[in-house]
Amino acid sequence: MPARQRILVTGVAGAWGSRVAARLLQDVDRHVLGLDRRPPQRRLDGLDFIQADLRDPLLAALLRDEQIAAVCHLPAVDEPGLDGANGDTLVTGTIDLLAACAAAEIRQIVVMSSSLVYGARPTNPAFMAEDQPLYGAEAPSVRRLTDIEAAVAGSSRRPASTRLAVLRFAHILGPTAPSPLNRLLRLPLSPVLLGFDPLLQVIHEDDVEAALLYALEHGADGPFNIAAEGLLPLSRLLALGRKPALPLFHPLAYAGARWLGGTRLATYLPLDPDYLRYRCVADLTRLHEVLGFEPERTAEAVARAARRERPDPAGEPDPAAGEAALGPILARRRLARVGRERQGQGRPATEEATHG
């Protein structure tokens, strides 16, 4: 019987981590391990959860011992509860994760990022290719992503056989996606800047999931811009989604953003005003020619779907999940731990299985 492919998903407690893990778990040929500092809130049957920090020095050992074939890194930069003080640990965690992957010689790494890292500036090219320098923005979430991208770019010490794909998604829309534009559209009045109407690229969250899986399965390497076909002016996006807009005079919007700061900013002005002012559109040539992935929905279809959708809670937390499956997992962990201690590492293993 062929060995099941073992995939590690980091950031499993976040929305994207749990979603991708759930999708991967549907395939019986795969064994999915989830890594995060907190347990996932969704019920994920069959997930091999490891509660640990990415910065743990034993991570390389874990990767080697568990014979991980691919790592899917999904930093939860967009979720208001998970960022803040923990935000900077995402960046250091990514650096450490990549170092651990290099040490363990992982074959495939897929990192989820956003095309917001290019930055919305008036002097940017109209269609930005992947080799465009990343300017990012003032907003904390985008700044963190830019730092993560810089970490990825700087991790050149990995072996040549490793494929590291960075997927830069456009604005993600859908019923559950926590992206800034989605939160903006969910406000009772979406703030826009008076006199500006930039063209936006969007993508549906189902296509994001499909893209992440596609990249894992097809051995993607390098940065890729991923977005749905077609560009929408912001006014058209709001009109198609039947969302009322609140035009703000732009110096006031910038002043307001500076004054709000922190979580209040995430609530009232989730998207940095620069992205409501200038265009930040990525070129999709590399996606079509090299990766060969086609999102199912066009931009217009995504905007129309936003009209009908109601926001879904991302799945109820299930406190009584998986106790029956805990036994064999605990036994295996114990064996692994004992094995490591015998090899003289001398430290109690930090991973413990608390969720099935």
Binding site: P122, T123, A126, G195, F196, L199, A239, P251, R277
Partner: protein, 412 residues
């Protein structure tokens, strides 16, 4: 002629050549040739009034019973009262017409004839009013439908943000400015190709983009292929509110080698102001002196794509708005470059926005072939500098010839 798989418009332009524009998705004709009512998004087809039935019940044959815009109208012109009034009206109209000359003796004859035509027998013809009502009704519903579609997002923009309905709305004003206000004249239009990418290098002579707008309008009105010009505007202008919106909906693109090259490869007509900001901020005494060409993007764009460069000079644009000083306050307030032409201080300052009606001349020179340069010249700064210099020399010659009053030499 579908090169990249997309079919072109199936119509013929007024020059007799096949139209080279791309139709919107699912249509056979481009938006210029799209027949009215064919897929324009009207939710109800306009109803044409019909049914003038002669009455069969012995009453007068002048009974009208028709539907117009969903309403039913009934008129009985055979009624003796109405007939009497009708007869009176006819007489009065006849009197008015024959006495018009006496009422307005000072009017020139063509105007008098027009006036007489206004008060003709047609006014008493029901068909005239039906037709007028039909036209007004259709227009109102078309506009209302367009506004409704704006609010529901049922319109299209291309990947550069071009919105044809916006262009349609503002074009009549610019047409008037071109023909009526500036009385512009375009010469050398045969040098602009009917299809395929071409790069227009234009000298900057005004503030507030009037020269760009007039160039666009000139190509729409006077060139047989009616091509839309895509100007490359300085990215910094995108920081101004509303201006960036209008530029984008008009299909213009921010400046940059990548943008220009992409547009040229798509077969669009691209316009570029090589002098850059220095051209715009020129104070009045410096007009018609070509500022130093700021960047090499002109040469690189042309060399990378092999498109011809067509030098264009616009003359008499500078007198229209004399820039005497620049306003820093406005610049700081809007977080944007200062573009305030002010002929005076205080109350007179807003007058700077009004252009003066000077006569314009737009001259297109013969195209400069960029394929004459070796293929790797785009990376070679010396070659790009040579090409830029060549373009600059040609434009200087054109400007000097105009200032000396001599007409442009015919293309060799």
């Amino acid at each position: 002629m579908a090169e990249n798989g997309r079919a072109r418009c199936a119509a013929t332009t007024k020059a007799g050549k096949p139209c080279q524009n791309y139709p919107p998705a699912g249509q056979r004709y481009c938006r210029w040739h799209l027949p009215v009512g064919d897929g324009r998004g009207l939710d109800t087809a306009p109803t044409i009034p019909v049914e003038t039935e002669p009455a069969t019940d012995g009453r007068s044959p002048w009974r009208l019973d028709f539907r117009l815009a969903g309403r039913r109208l009934q008129l009985d012109l055979g009624d003796p009262e109405i007939q009497e009034q009708w007869g009176q009206l006819q007489e009065e109209l006849h009197q008015l017409r024959s006495n018009l000359r006496r009422l307005f003796p000072r009017l020139p004859p063509p105007v008098q004839e027009r006036l007489q035509g206004l008060f003709s027998e047609d006014l008493l013809d029901v068909e005239t009013w039906k037709g007028l009502w039909f036209m007004v009704d259709y227009n109102v519903r078309y506009q209302a439908d367009m506004v409704r579609r704006r609010f529901t997002g049922e319109y299209e923009t291309d990947e550069w943000g071009l919105d044809w309905e916006f262009v349609d709305t503002v074009q009549p004003f610019f047409n008037f400015m071109y023909r009526g206000f500036f009385r512009a004249r375009a010469t050398g239009l045969e040098h602009v190709p009917d299809s395929g990418g071409a790069l227009l290098a234009v000298n900057h002579s005004t503030q507030w983009a009037w020269d760009g707008i007039m160039l666009m309008t000139g190509l729409q009105l006077d060139h047989p292929a009616q091509r839309l010009l895509r100007l490359l505007y300085a990215g910094q202008a995108g920081r101004l509110p509303f201006l960036s919106l209008f530029l984008e909906k008009g299909g213009q693109a921010p400046a940059g080698v990548e943008n220009g090259a992409r547009l040229l490869e798509q077969g669009e007509l691209v316009g570029l102001f090589p002098e850059g900001w220095r051209g715009v901020g020129k104070l009045f005494p410096d007009s018609y002196r070509l500022a130093r060409f700021r960047q090499v993007s002109l040469a690189r764009m042309a060399l990378v794509t092999g498109a011809p460069i067509i030098p264009v000079t616009i003359v008499n644009g500078a007198e229209i708005q004399a820039l005497l000083r620049q306003s820093r306050l406005i610049a700081r307030l809007l977080d944007a470059p200062s573009l305030w032409p002010a002929p005076g201080r205080g109350w007179l300052a807003p007058l700077g926005l009004l252009p003066l009606p000077g006569r314009w001349t737009i001259e297109f020179g013969p195209p400069i072939d960029s394929t004459a340069y070796p293929p790797d010249a785009a990376e070679d700064p010396a070659q790009s500098a040579r090409l830029t210099d060549e373009v600059r020399q040609v434009m200087r010659q054109m400007l000097l010839r105009h200032r000396a009053g001599r007409p442009a030499t015919p293309s060799a």
